[in-house]
Symmetry: C2
Amino acid sequence: MIALLLALLAIQAAPAAQPAAPLPSDAVAGDWRAIPDDELLVMTLSGNRAVVIRLAARFAPAHVANIRTLARAHWWDAASVYRVQENWVAQWGDATERKPLPSGVVDVPPAEFEIGGFAPAQMLPRPDGYALRAGITADGWPIAGDGKAAWLTHCYGMVGVARDALPSTGSGAELFTPIGQSARRLDRNYTVVGRIIEGMQYLSAMPRSDAPLGMYATEAERTAIVSARLASDMPSGERPRFEYRAADTSRFAALIASKANPAPPTVPTGLTVCDVPLATRRVATRP
Amino acid sequence: MIALLLALLAIQAAPAAQPAAPLPSDAVAGDWRAIPDDELLVMTLSGNRAVVIRLAARFAPAHVANIRTLARAHWWDAASVYRVQENWVAQWGDATERKPLPSGVVDVPPAEFEIGGFAPAQMLPRPDGYALRAGITADGWPIAGDGKAAWLTHCYGMVGVARDALPSTGSGAELFTPIGQSARRLDRNYTVVGRIIEGMQYLSAMPRSDAPLGMYATEAERTAIVSARLASDMPSGERPRFEYRAADTSRFAALIASKANPAPPTVPTGLTVCDVPLATRRVATRP
């Protein structure tokens, strides 16, 4: 049993190697860099299940500003995960549509569907069917571009802003994450505000709804959000701290190469931007 | 709320159009064709949850022959779903490794990682990062090719054969399905034997295991398989019948075109083989 699982692992993870020997793709201490406390949103679901979201502050500043205001107003407390659609998205916020937004929240921020320039630290080997070019930024975000524009990619676990029809861009009060095969078709059409770096399994394993659009038909089906806080607003003793693995290193280049070119007898079949592991790690809370 | 969900739907599904007016991409009656009863495997999980698998008999005949023998021997009865790894696979079979295979099952069938020629009824617009060419066969299977070889693609919900290290190809007794973002890296390295056409949500929403490789650490975590039967071996009154939507039609070409070129203001971002909806439908059981 373990053997047949290892065969799968050999393709899923790095090529087989002596477990003891460090790989050229292994991170070194200096590759781990701190995520600022105000770029961590801790959403606690019922049952004390913490979902930690890294906010893409530099790519979606207007929407992240709204999200910070919403968190500081405790706006999501007693909100819920109200939509879980099979092979598509889990979505949360205010299912009642009646809860006013706190002052300071811009109802329709400027579109942040696209980001500034395409400047990855690592490029993926080839076009992926959704973009001519894709790569990973030095600070560990998956991006794509076409020579003119660039955008964050809707990989599994990324966090997007639900919206009404254009010109609405969404305020950031209603958020979703892809739980299925691909939401890359949303690229350039929705604002990406972050990525779930811990607790994704709580959202991905929620019961699917058969109702239209995967909206839970009854309140009882929804999962309550107990609270959503910026780490920077939490008591220092309780404040989670995370680091991301930087991509502007020869180790990260080796990681991509190792996955793009697995050891024989595995037949290489390609590697796309959403296949690249973007590692983060929880580090000790300050005393 | 509905409005912002519709915005997502507009991209997920066909471009917006008058609900009443038929679309060029809509199937007509003749597009629905019967799936043979001996190409339907009905796996019933505890709680009377039916997972229906369409078998890829013409692409993996040796492994499908094993699967038919295993089903007729009731080999999976009292087996289990023993592995659910976040953003990777759900896997089922005999977690004990002690259950002998029934006579007639070939322990190491010939490799069926690749199929015959690349002969899709519909081609996808461009390479997708895993293959130079991809498309959908007339009978509704997703395939890819590189000019020399062709293979079924490990899309979400496809069913693959777990195996030990090569030269093992797996017998078909241990099966898995991708529940996450992408398992395309498994293409050409594992035998694909089918696709889940009903009940996928029961596997995709199972609790993830934190244990190595997502193997449930305790028997209590596993989901029992009550039975697994070929529809052709079920009493005619209980026998489920399904049809697939044929892809060798102008309607299917229009479906691909509509998804590859969504209506403005949606920005088109590409369409890959695993994004194409491969519709099946349950039809009335014979009296």
